[in-house]
């Protein structure tokens, strides 16, 4: 991923993390090639284009994986507006954008803490809101490294 920090104006600053990976990953290539392989072996063995279980399996896996990639984040940013609040923005590969604006008065605390995610331990940044039990995470998927 790449990290950029833009000073839009004196009062606004945006911290953006962009994923450098493309939407089609190496896993997709592997799945596609397996799909082709099973299709060709089916054609060779049966002489015509039929449907076999492995073709369907790899086809479904490929489509499923592409679908998940569409949902995952391409770009995440944190826009800090002085005296007003914070806006969290998440853009996915499919083009969907999710924006959350947190009013400055509602923030009761901002902190960076360690937590466990999928059996690894990471630093995350979170906002604590008045009257809300759950924390709002800053960079949900594209996690910046600690020095950032």
């Amino acid at each position: 991923y790449t990290y950029t920090c833009n000073n839009i104006t004196d009062d606004m600053r945006e911290y953006k993390i962009t994923s450098t990976k493309s939407i089609i990953t190496s896993l997709d290539y592997i799945l596609f090639s397996l799909f082709l392989l099973t299709t060709i072996s089916r054609i060779i063995s049966q002489g015509k284009l039929g449907i076999s279980f492995s073709m369907v399996l790899f086809g479904v896996l490929l489509i499923g994986h592409l679908f998940i990639r569409f949902q995952s984040a391409k770009e995440e940013s944190l826009l800090v507006i002085k005296d007003m609040g914070v806006q969290l923005n998440k853009k996915s590969f499919g083009g969907k954008e999710k924006k959350i604006f947190i009013d400055k008065t509602k923030i009761s605390g901002v902190f960076i803490n360690e937590g466990c995610v999928h059996f690894s331990w990471i630093y995350y940044m979170a906002f604590r809101i008045h009257d809300h039990d759950q924390l709002i995470l800053a960079f949900e998927e594209l996690l910046p490294r600690r020095n950032v």
Binding site: E114, C116, W121, Y123, R146
Partner: protein, 465 residues
């Protein structure tokens, strides 16, 4: 190639920032830790605090307790990792062999740990971390806190597991000489690999208070879990005899367990409601207040590696009567303790002697407390443990095939199973090194350490200053 990569990690004690720290970087692993209360937990906590004060870096890894998951900080910046793995029996993690490799590897890399110190043979997490630590090339040491038998089926299995873990370990620490003999025989390891470092007690928390005692009555205090192993059956047979013989002697019993019902039955049968007080479970912070009410402390355990309860009682100025089992004879000097065979008649005899001594007013609680304070100090334990760490840091690395050779020697069938387990662990580790390389793991920020305290035998000996 397997040996080389590990040696790169070994010989420098520098942190990620490049600062040379004089202290060791230790991870203590056990299933048993705060908020669970007990001897092992106390030991780990006290030892960790003293090592921190001496300028080392210590973290603790344990499993989740209810909602308590993730990272927590205790006094002086002691970082505790509550791994999100579930306990399944007696606060022990469900043994999965390989699923703990990923989180433990992640923790060890991000904290830049050099030494893994595991506690308690019962703890499955400790055994797994010994396996993973050795696969990844870290120096590992193990502390055993209990004695085991050899004859019943649970002991046989436990000993086999212990043999697997300890066949490839740098050092073992036992809490008494009896415990050392027991461990060496059970795990069939070289006695030179085993050191004896007794437990200690925080003498500042256990001070005598003779004003709490009743002037015309003699109180005998018993604080333990009310289970068979702690000899409660002996207590049940001793109490009526003593109460009949000495009309001014009362009993105060603290603790809970399955044998409490039997105690209540005995009390009912002999109508001793005003002579025997049952307190129920006593919180650890209240133990001292219960102890100072007594003149004599009775411990009737059937087996004990090192009884910390009697040291706490002696530190509060009580005269101790205990059964001569396990490591108990090594703990206190003869003038502070009366040792009895684990039979009710001998316990009655020793209690009679103790009562006579208390009546003669010859027993000085403050003097005894002062002696205990000079004998047992956690800072001393920490200094001796550092000697062990020094020794294990200097041991050479062992390649994979040497490890497999050692594991293979555990038995005809067990040896082969052990090798398979170790080999699979190695492959999983290599996969993780490719999938999540060390460079992709953010190093953790160290808690700022205060300058280490000057001498090991500091006069105040407090843990909480």
């Amino acid at each position: 190639p397997f040996v080389q990569r590990r040696m790169q990690r070994e010989n420098n004690n520098t942190t990620h920032d490049g600062n040379k720290s004089k202290g060791f970087r230790i991870a203590m692993v056990s299933d048993f830790f705060y908020p669970n209360m007990g001897g092992v937990e106390e030991h780990i906590y006290s030892l960790a605090q003293c090592l921190l004060r001496r300028g080392n870096k210590v973290i603790i890894i344990t499993h989740q307790y209810g909602e308590r998951k993730g990272v927590r900080y205790l006094t002086n910046g002691l970082k505790v990792y509550y791994l999100p793995v579930q306990a399944f029996y007696n606060q022990n993690t469900f043994p999965t062999f390989f699923f703990t490799l990923a989180p433990i590897r992640n923790i060890l890399i991000r904290e830049d740990i050099k030494i893994i110190h595991c506690h308690q043979a019962f703890s499955t997490l400790a055994h797994e971390s010994i396996l993973h630590g050795r696969t990844m090339g870290y120096k590992v040491c193990f502390t055993d806190h209990s004695l085991f038998g050899f004859a019943d089926s649970s002991s046989i299995h436990m000993n086999k597991v212990l043999k697997f873990s300890l066949s490839d370990i740098q050092h073992v620490i036992c809490v008494s000489n009896t415990s050392k003999e027991n461990t060496v025989l059970r795990a069939q390891i070289d006695p030179n690999l085993v050191s004896v470092i007794p437990n200690a007690v925080d003498a500042t928390a256990f001070t005598p208070d003779p004003s709490s005692r009743s002037p015309d009555k003699i109180n005998i205090v018993i604080i333990s879990r009310l289970v068979y192993r702690k000899g409660i059956d002996l207590v049940i047979s001793v109490i009526p005899i003593i109460c009949k013989r000495f009309p001014n002697v009362n009993f105060i019993i603290g603790g809970d367990g399955p044998k409490k019902v039997n105690l209540e039955e005995m009390r009912e049968k002999h109508q001793l409601h005003d002579r025997v007080e049952l307190l129920g479970a006593v919180k650890h912070s209240d133990v001292r207040n219960v102890l100072v009410r007594g003149d004599i402390f009775l411990n009737s355990s059937l087996t004990e590696a090192f009884c910390i309860a009697i040291v706490e009682a002696a530190s509060c100025g009580l005269l101790v009567v205990a059964t001569k089992v396990g490591g108990v004879p090594e703990v206190l000097p003869p003038h502070m303790i009366r040792l009895a065979d684990p039979r009710s008649d001998d316990i009655v005899e020793k209690l009679t002697e103790a009562i006579a001594l208390i009546k003669s007013k010859d027993y000085e609680p403050f003097q005894v407390h002062k002696q205990i304070r000079s004998m047992y100090d956690w800072n001393d334990v920490a200094a001796r443990t550092e000697v062990v760490y020094n020794r294990i840091t200097a041991t050479p690395s062992v390649g994979l095939f040497d490890r497999l050779r050692r594991l293979h020697g555990c038995g005809i069938w067990a040896g082969k199973v052990n090798c398979v387990v170790a080999a699979i662990d190695f492959f999983i580790w290599k996969f993780l090194e490719w999938y999540q390389p060390g460079s992709s793991i953010d190093p953790a920020i160290d808690w700022p350490t205060p300058p280490p305290s000057s001498s090991s035998s500091s006069s105040d000996g407090t843990l909480y200053s």
